[in-house]
Symmetry: C2
């Protein structure tokens, strides 16, 4: 294995099998990451509306950046000339880049996929481009994140012809080997992606195939899409036991709602990313314990309370719901930053709460309480502040 990532399970799942959740630590070239953890997404080498100091403030330990977007603009070679992604975006802690596979397959419905790679069009100007396992790895090496991801072909879990899922999964295995063969940077870890859709046999085969390769970490792909929670749970309950004795970190790509995160942690996942908390924040949706507020609602215009009493975030430390409601109505840029800081703080504090329970050995008992904390009943028209 390349060796740029070292993962250690600090508290394994209990022997009574009440949960597969575990506490861990992932050591990467730019620092150490406590797991389970959520990674904010910095699509264009910036987490939308935030400064790197905000990321530290919300408690981010690692962020994700998108290979597809940075390849198109400003260009991976430009970022390499400017000293790499860390220096470019002013973030000195761990970064993970995805493979670009998801974007080239999902953002362009006229893409052409063959065994060699994917030809796709830029969403900026329609120009034609091609990713192969080798070029994806070369781009990610130029970006220089702590973790790169093998090029894969994801498919929407439940809406794809089973034969197409099988073809994409087998192709992902061949591309995994080519990604590994192409990867050179000793100071960069490489994770592989398990696919297989919702078919148990295919998932099992994919888990064996990817886990059989010397990756530094194992991604569970093809979820956080159009599957039901039960379908996702079934996949995790199949994949994770197969990896029970595998020493590597497990990463479920694309999951972001607190309840989904909790459930996936419970089923044995360590690492997550999603644009969700930040995207809904920019749409004036603020997450609070057990609910969510739509800050555009009339009731908040006169509400002197912070979004969430006792919250340590940049918004709640100083400003009222009334001020946020005003900023959103006025289209003022500060609104987006404050709401994003709040939702990411909520999400990362929730993950910290989960880790504290795992450290204390109380996670199984605390599951009902954590579930009610993560629930997102809409509090748009009702007073919600817990006393």
């Amino acid at each position: 294995m390349p060796g740029a990532a070292r993962f250690e399970v600090l508290v394994p799942p209990p022997a009574d099998r009440s949960t597969r959740a575990r506490l861990g630590r992932l050591e990467l070239p730019h620092g150490s990451v406590e797991t389970p953890i959520f990674m904010p997404v910095g699509t264009n080498a910036t987490v939308k509306a935030l400064h790197p100091d905000d990321l530290e403030d919300v408690g981010a330990q690692i962020v994700l950046a998108n290979t597809y977007h940075l390849y198109l603009r400003p260009g991976h070679e430009r970022i390499a000339r400017l000293g790499g992604l860390h220096r470019f975006m002013g973030w000195d802690r761990p970064i993970l880049t995805d493979s670009g596979g998801f974007q080239v397959v999902s953002l362009d419905d006229l893409n052409a996929i063959d065994d060699e790679g994917v030809t796709f069009r830029s969403h900026h100007d329609g120009s034609s481009h091609r990713f192969t396992p080798e070029s994806s790895i070369a781009i990610q090496e130029a970006l220089g994140a702590d973790v790169a991801v093998a090029f894969d072909q994801p498919v929407p879990p439940s809406s794809t012809d089973p034969r197409d899922v099988a073809i994409a999964t087998e192709r992902t295995h061949r591309w995994a080997e080519r990604s590994l063969a192409a990867h050179r940077r000793a100071d960069q870890a490489l994770f592989g992606v398990i696919q297989g859709g919702l078919d148990p046999d295919l998932r099992r085969r994919s888990t064996a195939a990817i886990a059989g390769l010397p990756f530094d970490g194992l991604n569970i792909g093809g979820l956080a899409g159009d599957e039901t929670p039960a379908e996702r749970a079934a996949v995790l309950d199949l994949v994770v036991p197969l990896l029970a004795d595998d020493p590597r970190v497990r990463y479920l790509m694309g999951l972001g709602s607190p309840l989904d995160l909790l459930d996936a942690v419970h089923r044995g996942v360590d690492l997550f990313d999603s644009v969700l908390p930040a995207r809904v924040a920019r749409n004036a949706q603020a997450w609070v314990p057990g609910g969510r507020l739509n800050l555009r609602n009339e009731q908040f215009r006169d509400d002197p309370r912070p979004i969430q009493e006792g919250c340590r975030c940049l918004a709640c430390r100083r400003f009222s719901r009334a001020y946020l409601a005003h900023l959103f109505r006025a289209g003022e840029l500060l609104a987006y930053r404050l709401a994003t800081c709040h939702n990411l703080t909520f999400t990362l504090d929730f993950m910290a709460e989960i880790r504290a329970a795992l450290r204390a050995g109380t996670f199984p008992q605390r599951l009902p309480e954590l579930r009610s904390l993560a629930a997102q009943k809409s509090r748009g028209e009702a007073a919600v502040q817990p006393a």
Copy 2:
């Protein structure tokens, strides 16, 4: 005089008359302001793209908020219920509100002005509203800034019929007396506005009329519009000598380019405000010593240098021109905050440099150097960084 503002001239203009510039200190309920100083504009109770901590970081000592905008949204009564403007916007230092006169006259070309007040339409929904001296003062008292401004009728300096200028000026005098009579808050200063357009006689009469009333400070209005620099200089060279023995602070409303600020300081003005540095920043124009950069220009995409070498601002402390160029191209919100912080830091550091020269008694000798620092030659396509 109400007494909520105390102005002290620390270093008067030199006896040799080489300049009318002076160093001063304005004491207000929420703190002390060194003059000459520039006030960033927080139209909607937020300086666009900035957090109050950013305002402290750029060196703001006082900010301006717009009575017209806050009256319409979120409403002055709402702000009063929420504890006043300082608490609402999370800014604990001095604030000045304008009278709303400029907006109701300039933003609505179907307004109706009579001796009693101005009827105007909201720029949000076209609804009809009315400001009088009494209502403007009541709104400003509800907002609760450190400084309120008497309701006036400004006119564009050079494009207005002389008879209309005369009518507006005489009306402004009557409204000044009514504003004073209406003003109650002992913890809020009230400034009066000198009008008179470009006509020397009218300016002289207006200066005498407004300076003859017990205001805490004297605004010089009807400039920073469509007049030439020479016309503006002529007005200042007429008004300021008339106020030579007046103990009050002088405030020229609406001026924002560094060269204009320098010239007006030289002619004896203490206080300024403008949206200009922030507005051009959001349009990717960054101010540097002796020039300005258009951060959207192709050349900056590969430029590893900060906007300005040695600058202490949030942008220059960590990020390259290349990163800013990328953020602007990608439409990322961080671009607006970083560029605004830079331009306001540049402007406020420039004012601090002026104050240091006044304190040292070297301002007249340093004028050529300060002028070259303030010059804004476009460096869009040329390397600009001073060594």
